[in-house]
Symmetry: C2
Subunit: 94 residues, 2 copies
Amino acid sequence: MATWKAQVRVWLKPSVFDPQGRAVEQALHSLGYTGVGEVRIGKYMELRLEAASEAEAAAQVRAMCDAVLVNPVMETYAFSLEPWAKDARAEASA
Amino acid sequence: MATWKAQVRVWLKPSVFDPQGRAVEQALHSLGYTGVGEVRIGKYMELRLEAASEAEAAAQVRAMCDAVLVNPVMETYAFSLEPWAKDARAEASA
């Protein structure tokens, strides 16, 4: 069994209005960042999981996303996997 | 001037308690994903910006994170940049 670090990004489908993204976009414009557009806000999740292989880890992440982490009607997701480094938590704060 | 797509990940520093992450971890355990741990929930942001170079785009993203997108006391962040593809929005929903 190996330990994996999953980094999951969840964001609203393009057809879904994103009021939070719109608000952040306006705030950035008011701060002078007028060249910014299409701000979309979503969720970022990190988690550690045990799996015999990367393929099995990917299958677990997909199942968790489909079951509870992602709303399939409004959201879409992508994820990456890497072996859990001893200092994964420390590295995350670098 | 070129158009860039920034993907920003914001997450709580390891020293900060993450009640949302704890709740999701417990939900996953109750669904049978007992091999999951250290669930941390943060923000994922995508945005389009205009900049003459990738270095300038990176400087803009850093400035926006430091000014409004990230709480430096509790959060840390990382970002990636890529040229804005015509179908960047369509690609995001694939």
